[in-house]
Structures are given as C-alpha cells and as structure tokens.
C-alpha cells in the first residue's frame, strides 16, 4: 500500500469517526411531526417501503434489487456502473463508453447469455445477441428499481435469459411530478445535464418529459496515451401513465438518442502491426412502447404490450441497423384455489441490415456479411403455475417457455422451482431449469477475420458463419437461503451448479492460398462454429445488509465463480474463463446531521486470466474505492461531490474489443447540483 493510499484510508476512517461522534440526524422527531400542518405533512419526502420486500424475501430465484436510494448513494452515473454492486455479475469497463457485463461467467463485449430489459423492452443487438451498454441511458433519477435475477430466467423471459435477466424499471409518471435539473461536471465528465418536467393532466393521468446531454473525455490507453474514445450523447424521452376507471391502466413511453465518438484508433493488423485509422462512431435510434393493463376481476389480470425499436450504429468496421417490432401479452389467473397461473404469448420481428465499411487489413477485408439484410421471426408462449403445496409455507412453481425462431426452430425451456417459507423471516428455495441461447447472426451468417496466426507465411483465421449451428444449452441447479435475523439485517446466499452443452466452438478447416496486392500470397484458414463444447461451473453469491442505526446503512457482497471448459476454443466464442474468480464489494452510507450524507464503497475484482487478445496478458486484479459526500441545504436542492477509483491513477479492467487496444479506467472526480422545482 502506497503512502497516499494509507492516507486515503485513514482519511476515510477519520470521516467515519466524525460521523460516529456526531448525533444522528433526527428530522423525524415525533413532537415536531405532530405540529406540522396538513400541507407540510403532504410535502415531506419519504421513501416508499410498502411493496418492495415481498418479492425479494419470497422469490424462488437469486434476485437482487438496486433501489433508487442505492442509485443515489452509489454516486455512479450510468446503468452499467450501477451493476457493479450486484453479486454474481461481472462488470468490466474496457473503454470510455464500452462495457463487458455478464452474469455467472463468460464475459465479453457481446456477452450473450444475459437478457436486459428496460420497461419490458429487450435491448440487444442480434449480431452478437449482446448489449451496447453505452446507449442504455435512461436518466437514473427516473429509475424506480433495477431487478437482477441471476441464473436462468428463461421460463418467463425467453431465450438468451440463460445466465440472468436485468430488468430496469422506470418510475410511473405519477411519481416524477414537478421539475428537475441535474448538472454534473468533473475531470472525466466534461458536462452531463438532465432536465425533466412532470405534469398532472388530471386526477388519473400523468406525463413526464426529459432530455439529457453528456460529454465525456477520452480514457488513456495502456501506453498512457489518449485512447481517442471521448464521446458525447444526447437523449430525450417521455412517459405517460393514465387510468380508465378502476380497472384499466395505460402506459405510453418512448426515447430517442444520438451519440457520437470521433478519433483515431490503432487498428491491429493481421501481422500484429498497428495502423492508425480514423473512426467516426455514431449511434442513433429510438423506441416507442405502449402497455395496457386490465384487471377483469381480483382473480384475473391481463397485460398487453407492444413496442418498436430502431437502432443504428456505424463503427470502425461496419454499420448496422436493427429494427424490432414486438407484441406480448400476459394473463395472470388466480381463481383456482392454491394456484397462481401466469401464461402469455408473444411475437417479435427483427429486421437487420449490416454493411461492412470496406476497411481492409493488408488488402484483406476485415469483415463481410452475407446476406447483408435479413428478417427474423420469433414466436413464443409460456405457461407457469405457482402451486401451493402447504398453504403459506411451501410453493412449487412449474413452467415452461416455448419458442420458435428462424435459426434453430422450436425451443423448449422448462423450470421447476420450490420455495419453503420457513417462517416470516426465512426462505429456502431450490430450482432446476433448462435454458438455451439461440445462435446470433454473427455465428450463423457472417464472415469475420479474427487474428493472425503463427510465423512464416501469413495465415488469417476467418470465421465462417454456419446455418447449421444449434442453440447452446444450459441445465442449472440452484439452491438458496434468505434470512432476516433482525428487523434491520438481512442475509442472502445463492449457490448453483451449471452444466453447459452444445457450446459453440470454432472448427478450423483446410487453408486456402489467397493473394493480396500488398503482401503477395497468404493463407486463409476458415473457422466454422460447431456445437461441440461442454463446460460446467459452480458458484456462491452472498449479500448482507445491516442498518445498525437508523442513520447507518451497511451492505456487502461476495461472489465466487469456478468455470471449467472441457475443450480449448481457438476462436474464443465463449471467452473461456474470462471472468474473475472472486469479487467482493462493500458500501456504507451515513446520514449525518445538517442534511449531510456520506457514502463510501469498495470493490475488489480478481485477475482475469489471459484475456487480452492483443497482448496475451492477464488483466490484473484491482481494488476500486469510491466516496460520495452530499449536502441538502434545502428540500429542493442537493449538492454532491464524488470521487471514484480513488486508489489508483488508472487501471485496466478488460481487454480491448475487436481489433482495438485496451483503455484504462481512470480516477474520476465530479461535482453535481440537483434542483427540484
């Protein structure tokens, strides 16, 4: 530990001690409360606790919920960063706006076994079935909660929810009334502005509109030069919620964004040299979603949802445009004593266009798509019944998803979950489930130059997509325990054993000679994906929360993951073991007198073995420490100062993506002003 690290730690400890010696803020003195007028009472801000816990305590799944308070206290400024606190997830930032996030193993930019939903809208790019995290930019203040379910969530959510589901749920327009302005600036964030206005149309109808703009500086590359990944982004959107009578409710919402990044990157060539290349990366798109909910009776509730999403992106090697139209319905029916039946059906049409931008390495095109345009249909249905085996005590949930897609045809994804509510404070649960990941366009319909190999005459590995690929399969066995030993304390332990089959591996074919005007003769080795891989993993995830005093909140988690692949994979489809073995995090929030709040958090992430495609080096383990100090001089005004990555100038968290070098995540400091009116 360097001297200044010691002093950082001591300073933190000092602040904790100051916090300890001060009296807790007691703005909720009963005597003061009873003297407030009716108008004053109806203006006090409270955090609603009414409903959140039920699901977290009873669910027969490994669930973690990030609340609005967690979001605020963390000081994080984006959705992917917030996920760092969730046990079982691996979050690595590989550039100023590039992320690799996965649940329970197999990380990559297009980590493809995780399903991400924003208000019920699936956000993924079908090229790799992965997520472009930089465009998932809902204003954090309008998020109600982020529910993260690790493990297969396929029964309700469908294909690609193999290792987890991240469900980002925004607040109802009713809960975001009035105006809101937030301005952030610091060493890495040049400026970030969010403006929101919420209005009441009548007693039963509400609306909000927002706009935000972010301008962020570049990171530094491994040689400590600028990484040329500075970017900016503008996004705007709205949400409206209204009711008709007592039983029907409607939601209409939408967003539109434009994001850009220009710079020069070193493009890695097949002969391992680097050529400086201009990039002009642009992402723009939008979405609109409508939802109708009708409670026919207290036993019968129908939800119908439709959305359309258009996402365009042009980047270093190619541009893509993906249009998605989706229809879903879900019906909950509880009239049959001892059964809670949920069933539903859906249809999704995905139209994708891909175009290589013609970049070549030594005269050889980096990437080619054939066909360049395609439409894919997905039909799905699911049925689930939560059966009461012993009233109020033991529940068995049986269900399955049935899907038909254009790549692999019919898919069947069943699960059985058992939960035992030992008493009102303890739950034991167990589950067995099967989930599949359908092949992406990248593994079925594209050609991609992957890497140079060997010495002597140049040989180029070429990925050749195959229509013959089948879905990858997972059978997962899970066991969990949740307990509230005291009213202010909770503990959650989840364990699992995963068995993967039919994983895609790259199979090399016969080399064919080619000629390039630049280098003369070279060889192309075609690599075709085949479903020959098997792997297994096990792990433990624990979370503990403790509020020793009404003004102190402590939370921590620990994650262990052991994953073994039975075959080597030359193409690295599954990014073998590219996930840290152990992770810890811990957070403490203190609500101090004079409306001051202090939060500090620490994250430890194990090394990732030999992940850097470009250097072949390990990504070393790192410790990240953040702190946030906030002061609310008025009910409507909050000032905060945040420091992130306090322990080091910069560290690497992941390798660079396709052909690009790595960026290091720097120390950042920023200030924020938030005003509500």
């Amino acid at each position: 530990m360097k001297d200044w690290q010691v002093s950082t730690a001591l300073a933190s400890l000092g602040m904790l001690l100051i916090a300890a010696s001060a009296q807790a803020a007691d703005d909720m003195n009963p005597k003061d409360l009873v003297n407030l007028s009716l108008a004053e009472l109806s203006n006090i801000e409270v955090t609603s606790v009414s409903k959140k816990s039920e699901k977290e305590i009873d669910a027969a799944a490994a669930i973690y919920v990030i609340t609005q308070d967690d979001i605020k206290h963390s000081g994080m400024t984006s959705i992917p960063e917030l996920l760092r606190m969730v046990p079982g997830l691996d979050v690595a930032q590989s550039g100023a706006h590039e992320w690799a996030i996965t649940s329970r193993g197999s990380n990559g930019q297009f980590s493809n076994k995780l399903l991400v939903l924003i208000d019920g809208r699936a956000v993924y790019t079908p090229l790799f079935s992965g997520v472009y995290w930089d465009i998932q930019d809902t204003p954090l203040q309008d998020i109600d909660r982020i529910e993260v379910i690790r493990g297969p969530g396929a029964t309700l959510w469908g294909a690609n929810a193999v290792n987890g589901v991240i469900n980002i749920i925004t607040k109802s327009a009713k809960d975001t009334q009035g105006g809101f302005v937030s301005e952030t600036a610091g060493n890495q964030i040049n400026s970030s502005t969010t403006v929101r206005e919420g209005a009441k149309i009548d007693d039963d109808a509400y609306v909000r509109v927002y706009a935000k703009y972010d301008d962020e500086s570049q990171f530094r590359n491994m040689q400590d030069n600028g990484a040329h990944d500075a970017w900016n982004k503008a996004q705007s959107g709205f949400r409206s919620d209204w009711k008709e009578g007592e039983s029907q409710s409607f939601t209409l919402q939408g967003d539109a964004y434009h994001s850009g990044n220009t710079g020069i990157v070193g493009l890695i060539q097949p002969d391992a040299s680097t050529v400086s290349t201009n990039v002009n990366e642009i992402a723009d798109g939008g979405n609109i979603l409508g939802r109708w909910d009708n409670k026919f009776s207290k036993d019968s509730d129908l939800t119908v949802q439709m959305y359309y999403d258009d996402a365009k992106r042009s980047q270093l090697l190619y541009s893509d445009n993906v249009q998605t139209a989706d229809f879903d319905m879900q019906h909950t029916w509880t009239a049959l004593q001892g059964n809670e039946i949920i069933w539903g059906a859906g249809y999704r049409l995905v139209k994708s266009d891909f175009q290589a931008n013609g970049a070549t390495a030594l005269g050889v095109p980096y990437i080619q798509f054939a066909p360049q345009s395609q439409s894919d249909n997905l039909f799905s249905a699911f049925l689930q019944d939560k059966i009461t085996l012993i009233p109020n005590d033991v529940f068995l949930t049986l269900g399955s998803k049935f899907e038909h897609n254009d790549f692999t045809g019919f898919e069947f994804q069943p699960s059985a979950r058992l939960s035992w509510l030992v008493d009102s404070k303890q739950t034991v649960w167990a589950a067995i489930s099967r989930a599949v990941r359908t092949p992406s366009i990248g593994t079925s319909d594209s050609q991609l130059i992957i890497a140079p190999v060997g010495a002597g005459p140049l040989a180029v590995l070429e990925q050749v997509g195959s229509k013959q690929t089948q879905s990858e399969e997972l059978v997962a066995y899970e066991l969990g325990y949740r307990v509230q030993p005291a009213k202010n304390m909770s503990l959650d332990v989840s364990t699992y054993y995963n068995n993967y089959n039919r994983l895609l591996l790259g199979m090399p074919g016969a080399a064919t000679p080619e000629t390039s005007p630049l280098i003369g003769t070279y060889f192309i080795i075609p690599i075709s994906p085949i479903n020959a891989g098997t792997a297994h993993s096990y792990g433990i995830e624990t979370t503990a929360k403790w509020n020793p005093e009404s003004w102190v909140e402590l939370a921590g988690s620990y994650t262990l993951l052991e994953m073994t692949f039975d075959q080597p994979d030359p193409l690295g489809y599954d990014f073998n073991n590219k996930t840290p073995r152990q992770q810890f995090n811990a957070r403490a929030t203190f609500k101090l007198p004079y409306d001051v709040e202090f939060t500090t958090s620490a994250y430890y992430v194990d090394k990732i073995a030999a992940i850097d495609l470009n250097t072949g080096n390990d990504v070393p383990a790192y410790t990240r420490v953040d702190a946030r100090l906030a002061w609310k001089p008025l009910d409507s005004l909050e000032l905060s100062l945040v420091g992130q990555n306090l322990l080091d100038n910069a560290h690497q968290e992941f390798s660079g993506f396709l052909y690009q070098g790595s960026s290091q995540v720097p120390r950042t400091v920023y200030g924020n002003i938030t005003w509500k009116f």
Partner: protein, 183 residues
C-alpha cells in the same frame, strides 16, 4: 491490492463497531409510517364522529390496527400528540368484529389486502373512520386511503363512504387530498 482492500474493510468494521458499541440495534424508524401516523393524528382533529362517539365526550381514543402494518411502530407519534385531556393510543385488534365497540379509527394493514372486502363489510355500518394504504382502498369503499405520489404521502378520500356512517370529513382535509372519490 487485496491487502489494501482488506485494510479498508477492517477500517469499516472497526468504525461500525465504534458506532454501535453499547447500542442495541433499535427498530428501524420508517419515515413513511411516521408521516402516516402524523396524518392519522390530524384526522382526529379534522373529522367529526356522530354524536354518540364525538371526540369532545372522550378522554381516550383508540386507533386500531387490523392486520400487520409498520404503523404499529409509530406509537411515539401518538404519545407526543396526547394531552392531559385526550390520550391517543395505538391498539392491535385482530378481530374486526370487536373494533366497532372501542375504536374511533380502524387502520387496515397491508397484510389484509386479500380480505379487504370482508373487513369493510363488517365495519360498514359502524361509526369508525376506516383508513388504509392498500391500493385502491377509497375506491373500494374505504374512507381515507394513503398513496405515495412523487415519494410524498397523499390522501385519497371517499366522503360518501364516511357520511353513510354519520362521519363528516372536514373540508380542509378534502382540500389537500390528491383525489376525492365521489361514489
């Protein structure tokens, strides 16, 4: 790196231990329910019960909780609101049939959501003010429902349900209500 992290954790544990030394963890005060309790105290001031149960004739008032609710943790508010002439107390009342005889206010806890209709039909003709934070309470025939809107506690009032039992809700309460149900 791991070492520095460990040191950091130790610092925390130490600090937390210092905070809590000799201090047995006390029940978590929930701000939301403290505010709801303060509202209920105001109901005593702004609601008129029919002649037989008029507040002016009482020296103690029972606010009954039917079912489970965090409201049961807020007795400090009612203690603070009590005077030598009128004492307010929170009482847990399991059986709605017994509520009418001694309660002025019946608060129906969230645990009773599934039997709300049954409870309301038992209390319907009794001169007691029914209050709850179950969704759609006032719409389903309750008198005053709590909702949260923009993280603030708001009231939904059904004056007709109240007047049917001879209870009159003062205009000042109706004025601050987020919604008044007229049926």
């Amino acid at each position: 790196m791991f070492k520095s992290f460990a040191r950091y954790i130790i610092a925390w544990c130490l600090a937390s231990a210092i905070f809590t030394a000799g201090n047995v963890a006390r029940a978590d005060d929930s701000k939301e329910y403290l505010v709801k309790a303060a509202f209920i105290y105001n109901f005593v001031k702004f609601v008129e019960w029919p002649d037989g149960r008029a507040i002016s004739k009482e020296n103690s008032i029972d606010i009954c909780i039917i079912g489970d609710s965090e409201l049961s943790q807020t007795s400090s508010v009612f203690k603070a609101a009590s005077t030598s002439k009128l004492s307010l107390s929170l009482v847990e009342e399991k059986n709605p049939h017994n509520a009418a005889s001694h309660c002025h206010i019946a608060f129906i806890g969230g645990s009773e959501e599934s039997r709300l209709g049954e409870i309301l039909s038992v209390l319907k003709s009794q001169p007691l003010l029914t209050v709850s934070d179950i969704d759609g309470f006032a719409e389903h025939g309750g008198m005053i429902g709590f909702t949260t809107e923009d993280n603030k506690v708001k009231l939904v009032i059904n004056p007709k349900a109240a007047s049917a039992t001879g209870i009159r809700i003062d205009a000042q309460l109706l004025e601050i209500a987020a919604k008044v149900i007229d049926k």
